[in-house]
Symmetry: C2
């Protein structure tokens, strides 16, 4: 029995994960906590997977819809996807088993902007929520919940679900208490929505705890398991070069008077390259920085430790195992530097636009006209999802996208004639960066962008084929605004599918 449950009455609801899983019915719409490998329930999903497997062995239909904050970990997405029992998944995932179920057509996946998820659930667009399963650090005497290493969609799921299961995870440091900022008015529906009173990343506007109607709690599970995130790849030449180009660009913006000396709040996306950019900032000339972002990666913690960054606002941690351990052991020291908010606050267009956040996200590929694909491989396969990249890209001061110029050992050019899927339109992309260089697309027309992107960003081995595409397209196109030869626009992807390489 956990000493983390300070509310007497709720102690009686403690049970084993399998007993809790037995309460679930076929077809339920379940909202899970969890955001980029942080704060997801650790035991319940595997127990539910067992229940689904057992039903399937009996020949019974058993499927559930899995809604989360964002990606989770093998214990949640992996365990449930493996059963084939996920009917529907939203809004973001990055687990190999989950990805496979989506791409095999076993699970339906709706790839929703993270800032849209709260409103869509509250507005009733995703159906009735049957159950919320939420990891917490502790339960207070008066039955309020101390959130754990992510906040994500928890407020919304707790408010809208008919029933609630809590996982009290004793691995999470009790000193996370005080790090969260839960702003309840964000859940209002129009015409009752009010301005979001955040002016700067350090503004605290809400309360420290999550509220829950105790009547809805049907089970409490006690666990002691670490968040599980994959470690970042060590910095290599390419990622350092990309970070260098961005730093030079930022320095010049400051010099031109287009940005304050301490920059504007930084947003940094998921993935290795985004983490490398943060490492670059550690070496850079900027002091007194702030961050208004979605996830706190290793590089962000280093920036806070160094004193170069003053405060970071996010909705979740996304730390390597060693960084997670370090943070967990020193949570108290970070409480005045880190604020974790609900994802409909961390990713809110209103806040991002007002503060002029500098957006920096990874991508799969960009095309010569500045359209960006963050999600699809060769037209049909889902990689992860758009996550919050659209929230920050559309609303930021300006938006940048980073990728190595090639993938799969040089077989794939990440700069292509036409992207195979568009997540960020030409209207939204300000800057593209590869290890080769940087293309500043602000105020440029498509043909001007093409020149810059090819000459500055494409890998040398793909530059000439791209130039040839432009030449051909300008000859055959039905208009010279965005010249395309529709017959060969996707031919690089087709070639890759047929031959395993885009090189002809």
């Amino acid at each position: 029995m956990s000493g983390r449950i300070h509310n007497e009455a709720l102690r009686s609801k403690v049970m084993s994960a399998p007993d809790a899983a037995a309460l679930v019915r076929n077809g339920w719409n379940i909202g899970f906590s969890g955001f980029t490998g942080a704060g997801y329930p650790k035991d319940f999903p595997e127990a539910l997977a067992g229940r689904i497997d057992a039903a399937h062995h009996q020949g019974e239909e058993f499927k559930v819809n899995v809604l989360t904050g964002a990606s989770t970990a093998p214990e949640l997405d992996g365990a449930l996807a493996r059963t084939g029992g996920i009917n529907f998944r939203a809004p973001y995932q990055s687990d190999p088993e989950m990805r496979s179920a989506i791409n095999k057509g076993i699970s339906y996946y709706s790839d929703i902007h993270l800032s849209h998820m709260g409103p869509q659930v509250s507005q009733g667009f995703l159906g009735k929520m049957d159950l919320a399963v939420i990891e917490v650090t502790a339960i207070t005497e008066d039955g309020e919940l101390i959130p754990s290493s992510s906040v994500g969609m928890n407020r919304t799921y707790l408010d809208y679900a008919d029933k609630v299961i809590l996982e009290v995870n004793e691995w999470q440091s009790e000193e996370l208490r005080g790090m969260h900022d839960i702003y309840y008015p964000i859940g209002a529906l129009p015409p009752n929505r009010v301005p979001l009173p955040i002016l700067t990343p350090s503004d605290r506007i809400g309360q420290l705890t999550l509220k829950v109607d105790p009547e809805k709690i049907i089970a409490i599970i006690v666990t002691d398991s670490p968040d599980r995130n994959t470690p970042f790849k060590p910095l290599d030449h390419d990622s350092k070069a990309i970070a260098g180009h961005l730093l030079d660009f930022l320095s010049n913006e400051v010099k031109q008077g287009r940005m304050p000396k301490n920059l504007l709040p930084m947003q940094s996306g998921v993935g290795n390259i985004a983490n490398a950019v943060l490492a670059g900032l550690l070496e850079g000339p900027f002091e007194n920085m702030t961050s208004y972002t979605e996830v706190i990666q290793d590089g962000m913690v280093d920036l806070l430790d160094s004193g170069k960054m003053r405060v970071a606002s996010a909705t979740a941690f996304s730390l390597s195992p060693t960084a997670a351990e370090r943070l967990n052991n020193n949570a108290k020291d970070y409480r005045d530097k880190i604020i974790l908010r609900p994802q409909d606050v961390s990713n809110h267009p209103e806040a991002i636009r007002r503060m002029g956040v500098i957006a920096c996200n990874g991508m799969i590929e960009a095309d010569i006209y500045g359209n960006v694909n963050s999600t699809h491989v060769m037209g049909s396969r889902m990689q992860n999802g758009i996550g919050g990249s659209g929230d920050f890209t559309r609303n930021g001061y300006f938006s940048s996208f980073v990728t190595p110029s090639t993938a799969k050992g040089g077989a794939i050019s990440c700069i292509v004639p036409m992207v195979n899927h568009v997540d960020h339109t030409e209207h939204d992309v300000s800057v593209i960066i590869t290890e080769q260089g940087l293309a500043d697309l602000r105020g440029l027309a498509p043909r001007q962008r093409a020149k810059l992107i090819i000459e500055n960003c494409a890998h040398p081995s793909f530059k000439e084929p791209l130039r040839e595409y432009v030449k051909l397209a300008e000859k055959v196109a039905n208009g010279l605004h965005t010249p395309h030869d529709l017959e060969s626009a996707l031919s690089w992807h087709i070639r890759f599918l047929k031959t395993g390489t885009m090189v002809s």
Copy 2:
């Protein structure tokens, strides 16, 4: 000499349009007033075109950059485009001559979200502004400006341009005074931006006039010319059917408790179909409606006249000649029902998201997975531009797109396997409507959307080919999330370019 210029000192700056045009230099970045055929300068652009033609006849280089609020009219875009002297154009246009210059590669065009235009100019991303040319209704005694039939980018251009030319247009009713709401803090740069204090479309938050530094005024031109907008097409069977589907959908949303009885503020895009939807609302069951939109079309004025709509907030009129005349003659009667704001307020993500605006916009085509193309014809040709459709689509309560199911007499299907350009991604599109029916895409995965869009929205003559595409794609695709056959995904467009029809 105009009695509209109440400031003594400024009267001395009155001159002819050609004299004013003579002050312009090659290469200038010029910000013009004008938004969907309303409030653009009427005489200066033609005089400038004359000056450019003369320079070209002398063999001199003479080009300017033309920035506006949105589209203008033949007297501005047409006159200047015809000279070949527009080097760069942003952010929206719909004039045949301008379109032709863009598609012939004579003019560069950057198709920018209308809500991004203010920030991009203020942030210095579009370069130094040399000149603002702004139509006004009158100049007050203390030198402030009474705006005319559009506000658009005027505040920003007046603030940022080095020099200013005013056109005082006596055709504009003096009783427009009192209709405008100019909110100055919207121009603040981060970290000094503050919440936009609009809670409901009728909120007035600014002042009635535009400010200008009198030192910057280099010329004032007096004109007496009407705004020139093309009349709307009469309602036909298709547009009535589309309006009917949307009305049924809205009624059901109210019935399901997902929307208040008087709906939420409506946004209605440009074009004939959008206007038809407004006509549909006139017949519909909803009372006490409001609108938070970009342009006030004929149908919106009818709704205000009928009493079914209480108030409409926009940045410009977009009226047929008869409706413009009617409004101009009775401007006083509309002053408490219509508010014209700067476009960075009318289209602000913050306001749109907070109020839960219902977005409804026209489109060129949608694909089976819910991506929408608003701008490009067959891959390369620019039609008009994205305008404000992205501002409303991304941030609204939900977003809908309307189009007849076919174009060019049935030769083109407006539902295709893959759109030839993406302006609104699958993440942003809630509802697609043609005369055939409505597809409610909320909470659906791509394969589910495809079924609905094909069965509910495609024209009967294209249904079977679309079903066949899906069958083929599911067989050959490298993943079943968004099954595509990249070899034939764009084949319908290619066929049209080769044979003049998408029918095989």
